[in-house]
Amino acid sequence: MLERTSSDPVLRLEGLRKNFGSLTVTDDVTLDIMPGEMHAIIGPNGAGKTTLINQISGIIPPDGGRIVFGGNDVTALPPDARALSGLARSFQITSILPGFSVLENVALAVQARDGSSFRFFGRAADETVLNAEAMTALEQAGIAERAHARAGELSHGEKRALELAIALAMKPVLLLLDEPMAGIGREETERQVELLLRLKGQVTMVLVEHDMAAVFALADRISVLIRGRLLMTGNPADVRADPQVVAAYLGEQLE
Amino acid sequence: MSTTLFLVQILNGLQLGVLLFLIAAGLTLVFGVMDFINLAHGVQYMLGAYLAVAFYGLVGNFFFALVLALAASLLFGLLLEFLVFRHLYDRDHLDQVIATFGIILFLNHAVRVVWGAAPLTLPVPEFFTGSIVLMSGLLYPVWRLVIIASGLAIAAGLYVLVTYTRIGMLVRAGATNARMVSALGVNIERLFMIVFGFGTMLAGFAGIMIAPIISVEPGMGDNILILAFVVIVIGGIGSIRGAFIAALLIGLVDTLGRSFSVDILRLLMGPSPARMTGPAIASMLIYVLMAVVLYVRPAGLFPTRGR
């Protein structure tokens, strides 16, 4: 295996294409995500951002192009294989295990990478190593005090935090965040932003978001997706100023 | 193995296929549009046969009996829909399976109570009795030809209905995404009722048509129901075209398999082991076919839900 230098991209998308019938949702997207960066993807609703994330995480197969993760072509790999090689994601529409406790939701994420799960004896819920790591992730996400609550009973904001905790517990190489601020209030948004700022540099992150204040506070680089096509990639100042981007998207976003 | 026997069995296979299509069509539509597993579809078929016998006893004429039995079938199906099925559309598949299983138990034994357990018969309508000569040496029962012809006619009619009419378009749309259709303002409940009623009538019709050539008895719908499931699984849930092709395929494979398995095996092994394993292999054939198709195409040959 090649020694990965810090100049090799963590994730490389090459000519990614996806059509739903005659509708082109991902239009020849080529993008490099560099190690340690916080890379935001912005664009109007229907631009295909979530579809892009779904293809990267392996839930939807692309119709063309390649996805290279950590130097390996993962285009044909199922989502579980990608997860085990360090790719974590949070979902735009909260996707947790509502019947399990908050702690177990995260402990399962730890369990996936902790040896074999084909163990038929011994209560998994009592495994102290798994629980300890899960608690650490819950503390990072700021909901440790809800560890023993049933996940389905959490408030919306707490569930978003749980999504993040689950992703963090996977000790990912790349973290895909699909609209983590969606539907949560100002205070919780600030907390999330703080948390992500603390994570910056430790984990490479791809952030899909509509909240422009958060995006400009967090992003090292921003890519703009319009109707499935990548319009431009650049640092926040350049993107903000680009007339095409302003016309197509940012014009309405900024006051 | 003579050509005549082979041709006769091909016709028999077509007849079984057409019958399976009539039953599977209703099943796959209900499934596709309402996401509703209806195990009780087989007893609709059985009920059609029993009602035909009952009405024939009253009116003495097959065609009046057919019309009356169809109407009664439809009425009964709608009653079931209103009383039970309607409350299950939102439930998960397990609930639907158990509830419709309960209806099978109820009806299989209810017909026993009403008509007794002994098999009943229905005479072939006068005009269609006997056999005709299709080619030299090939004699085939007229009524079976009538079944094949009516089944094909209905298939053609359904195709036209589903492809060219507005209701057909709604059904196809519903099979792809029922919630969307509802959101677009279509009265989804009425659509469900129409689809369900139609499916019920098809199954009842199949039962009525088959009644003159088989014995009408409790439980006659059970085995054919499972065959119908194999048909819609192979054809693709929600697809009429898939049901048609799969039904004919299964009808032919099963009939020809059962008739010629021993003969074919005798070419590979001695007559005695062939006679022993032949019937067993024949019964396995369509399930192996199903397994092969599903392994390659887990959503069937013509899946309606795009993904």
């Binding site: 995480s57 839930i59 199922p78 989502p79 579980d80 294989a81 997860a83 994601r89 996707s95 947790i96 295990l97 509502p98 399990f100 406790s101 399962l108 994420a109 799960s117 084909f118 038929f120 004896f121 011994g122 209560r123 998994a124 819920a125 009592d126 608690m135 503390e139 440790a144 005090e145 560890a147 023993h148 689950i166 996977m170 | 499934f31 597993i37 409350h87 299950l88 598949h93 399976v97 158990i98 509830a99 299983f101 309960g102 138990l105 109820f106 009806l107 034994h109 109570v113 059970d222 499972i226 194999v230 699984v233 849930i237 067993a280 399930y287 199903m290 397994a291 599903l294 887990p298 959503a299």
Partner: protein, 331 residues
């Protein structure tokens, strides 16, 4: 470390375990005492009925594992019972009546069938799965009816109950009853452990949200296949017991109606509880005994009862019990 300790789940768990054990302990106690009750009331047939309940309970508990915990609605579970039973029958027909051969054979054949069909079934989703398991069950049924040397449609009588290491230890009805009780206990304990284990947790997670589980790194299908094979093997175990109970095997053991009855047992008891498998098989067989005494066509009554259970008492007997307990607590 924050103030929230890891001790809390243990404390809650300790209380939960205490309550969890009461019901199954009660059920097993009743089963254990049944022969004594039978002797006291001079109703010897109770031993036969009780043994039947336990034999089907083994299969029902295994089915609950699939339906209630893995979310796999298998409508072909009776096939495994039939395979296990026929393993005993066929071996017996060839002069082999030893349990140490027949039992492993029964379980292995069932697991093999589960593996081969599971590979196909699990490639499909939801409703397809139900229909395909139904179809495969039917396939085995038809194969059995066409086995002329082994009785075909009419079935096959078994010369005698299996010997254990050559000894006729389960020949008497009482001895067989206690043997079956031990088998059921072992099955129940195994399934309980399984459900709380790492493996069980992945299964349960997969049932609740398979996409989430995949993106954490679990190939849920692989776990489901293993669960399917385990449940199949337990079904074969049940078949071994059934063949020994009745000293007879017939294709009817693997009819789809029998598969349906197994699911009914699971639902009657309460899906996803394991205890439901115990209660449900007992409840179903009691209902069968009682109602068939009233009328031969008792299913005319039972059918609508099932529909009502689905519509109004979805949690089965255990669900009913929790509901009553809550009403009493609030009274």
């Amino acid at each position: 470390m924050s103030g929230v300790t890891l001790a809390a789940p243990k404390a809650k768990h300790a209380v939960a375990v205490r309550r969890d054990i009461i019901l199954p302990a009660l059920i097993f106690a009743i089963f254990a005492l049944l022969p004594a009750i039978a002797a006291l009331t001079a109703k010897q047939y109770l031993i036969d009925v009780g043994a039947r309940m336990m034999v089907f309970a083994v299969a029902a508990v295994a089915l609950d594992l699939l339906v209630g915990y893995a979310g796999l609605i298998s409508f072909g579970h009776a096939a495994f019972i039939g395979l296990g039973a026929y393993a005993v029958g066929i071996l017996s027909a060839h002069g082999i009546g030893e349990a140490l051969v027949a039992l492993p054979a029964a379980i292995l054949v069932s697991m093999l069938f589960a593996w081969l069909t599971g590979i196909v079934c699990l490639r499909t989703r939801g409703a397809y799965f139900i229909m395909i398991t139904l179809a495969f069950g039917q396939m085995i049924y038809f194969i059995a009816t066409s086995l002329a040397p082994y009785g075909g449609d009419n079935g096959l009588t078994i010369a005698a109950r299996s010997t254990i290491a050559g000894w006729p230890l389960i020949k008497s009805d009482r001895a067989f009853y206690y043997f079956t009780l031990l088998c059921l206990l072992a099955t129940y304990v195994f399934c309980r452990a399984l459900v709380g284990s790492r493996f069980g947790r992945v299964l349960r997670g997969g049932k609740e949200n398979s996409v989430r589980m995949a993106t954490i790194g679990f190939n849920v299908r692989r776990f489901q296949l293993v669960a399917y094979i385990i449940a199949g093997g337990l079904g074969g175990f049940s078949g071994f017991l059934l063949a020994n109970l009745t000293e007879f095997v017939a294709p009817a053991y693997m009819s789809w109606q029998q598969s349906g009855e197994l699911i009914v047992m699971v639902i009657l008891g309460g899906v996803g509880t394991l205890d439901g498998g115990l209660l449900g098989s007992a409840a179903y067989l009691i209902a069968e005994e009682w109602l068939s005494g009233i009328t031969e066509n008792w299913k005319v009554i039972f059918g609508p009862v099932l529909v009502l259970v689905v519509l109004f008492a979805r949690g089965g007997l255990i669900g009913l019990g929790s509901w009553l307990r809550r009403r009493v607590a609030h009274a």
